[in-house]
């Protein structure tokens, strides 16, 4: 009951957008080649020439795969940074510089290097999602109260114990805030990859439908991409709820 009341405004806002959409495309007079109505968009799911499931799964695989890779490698690198300060001093500024490259502009190169298919799209997703993860996690690992370190040093804590019992758990809120940002970026990376060169995935569907001005298919693809993104983001938030105590979460 409490939860229902708390979430009611958000649910209403979502429904209001749907209603506005329905109204604009019917009485509002927005022509269908600009924006199809909700019913017509749903009807696009029946288009015989499109295997929707396959495209959704491919996009999801690319987004989730690139994201998982970014988390794995990002966390590993952040940990190495805290263990080997010279490595951090050498690589952290480099990462900041590399982060300034507009990652989407790398997509064509990746396709040249890696060919068509899942691999280049996972690579683009990875590159775009990777930076927020390393940067936030490295910061989280570094931010430990010096007095707390003093305290455990009086009982001769090893470096590994400090890492396991203090640094790692205290960096989790940072890691998750990085992951929330990265989840949003990951979907964008995947779709850009599919735009640039791909024979499958929702980005590919959007590009092909553009050729025939099939707006219902385009809008449907957009909705499905969003749902893939919502799922990824939702998983991150759910995992965070599970492992990070409420008051430690970063907002």
């Amino acid at each position: 009951m409490g939860a229902l009341r708390r979430h009611a405004p958000a649910v209403l806002a979502h429904l209001a957008v749907l209603a506005l959409w329905a109204w604009a495309t019917s009485w509002g007079g927005v022509p269908r080649f600009i924006l199809p109505g909700p019913l017509e968009t749903i009807r696009a799911l029946g288009a015989p020439q499109i295997d929707w499931w396959r495209h959704v799964l491919i996009t999801a695989a690319e987004a989730f795969g690139g994201f998982a890779l970014a988390v794995g490698i990002g966390v590993m690198l952040a940990v190495l940074f805290t263990w080997f300060a010279p490595l951090r001093r050498a690589l952290m500024p480099l990462l900041v510089t590399l982060n300034l490259i507009p990652k989407v502009a790398l997509a064509p190169l990746f396709i040249v290097w890696l060919g068509y298919g899942l691999v280049p799209n996972i690579a683009i997703t990875f590159v775009i999602a990777f930076f927020p993860i390393v940067i936030t996690t490295a910061r989280g690992l570094a931010e430990v109260e010096p007095e707390l370190l003093d305290l455990v040093r009086t009982v001769r804590a090893t470096r590994w114990q400090v890492f396991r019992k203090i640094q790692l758990p205290s960096s989790l809120p940072y890691l998750f805030s990085g992951m929330r940002v990265a989840a949003v970026l990951a979907i964008a990376g995947t779709i850009v990859g599919e735009f640039v060169g791909s024979e499958a995935g929702l980005g590919f569907v959007i590009m092909s439908a553009q050729g025939t001005l099939d707006t219902p298919v385009m809008v449907m693809s957009l909705i499905l991409v969003t749902l893939v993104g919502v799922t990824l983001y939702g998983l991150v938030v759910a995992l965070e709820r599970l492992v990070v105590t409420e008051d430690a979460r970063l907002r």
Partner: protein
């Protein structure tokens, strides 16, 4: 019984100078005193007089660069016989109260079952029975400070070092904690060093008081507090207590 003949803690001309960026700060100079087994020493003085520095020297966190320091008797292991608590509770947010208390025991690799038992007992001792499974954010500041006190004791250290553990508490809670720390000290027989800038707190809690002053850093006084045991807060209204407190104020140059 040769061991009990010599003091638990003995400092002779201990000093410490910090060197940072070409500047030198004399934080502690010529600290000399003895402390017997099971005594309660208060280090009192104004901000910046080197109380924390001296405590960190005792904890083995900073090397001292002059004088002689001897801690404990034969068999004293500074890596497991010292417990510390600081002004901030420094609890791990993601650990429940009981697991926070367990931290030093875990690091030392003490047998888990016995240590948990002990952690429970200590939480009861500091008046937190029934809060074992709460998270730190569910506790008040005073309760958090008690947890950090229990944590300082969980590995049964012989020497307990407390750096203004009540500094952040309101006056009432602080008085209650003074009584509590005395009760714990009296029942445990541990040697305690308490850093504070509260003169009343120092005289009330301790069996010995060392007065430190800043600019230049030095130990201005060291005396025994011969007040009856057990002490109650009302003792602060006695002439004996007043005289000792005045002595500290005198040494600190506060008329």
């Amino acid at each position: 019984m040769r061991a009990s003949a010599e003091p638990f803690l003995s400092l002779r001309g201990v000093s410490k100078t910090y060197r940072t960026g070409g500047r030198e700060t004399v934080a502690v100079s010529d600290a000399s005193f003895d402390l017997g087994d099971g005594e309660f020493l208060a280090l009192v003085g104004p901000s910046g007089c080197g109380k924390s520095t001296l405590l960190k020297i005792l904890a083995g966190l900073h090397p001292h660069d002059g004088g002689e320091l001897r801690i404990g008797h034969a068999g004293f292991d500074p890596g497991r016989d010292i417990g510390v608590a600081f002004q901030a509770p420094l609890l791990l947010k993601w650990r429940r109260v009981l697991d926070n208390v367990m931290l030093p025991a875990e690091i030392l690799g003490l047998p888990t079952k016995a240590a948990r038992e002990r952690a429970r007992d200590l939480l009861a001792l500091v008046g937190l029975e029934g809060n074992e499974d709460k998270y730190p954010y569910e506790l008040s500041g005073g309760m958090q400070q008690r947890v950090s006190l229990a944590r300082a004791l969980v590995h049964d250290p012989k020497l307990v070092l407390l750096d203004e553990p009540f500094g952040a508490l309101d006056a009432l809670t602080r008085e209650r904690m003074n009584l509590e720390i005395r009760r714990i000290w009296a029942s445990s027989g541990k040697t305690v060093v308490l850093v504070t800038h509260g003169v009343q707190e120092a005289v009330f809690c301790a069996t010995q008081v060392a007065v430190l002053t800043a600019g230049p850093a030095r130990m201005a006084d060291h005396f025994a507090v011969d007040l009856p045991e057990p002490r109650e807060l009302a003792i602060r209204n006695t002439p004996e207590f007043g005289a000792l407190a005045r002595r500290v104020y005198d040494r600190l140059g506060i008329a």
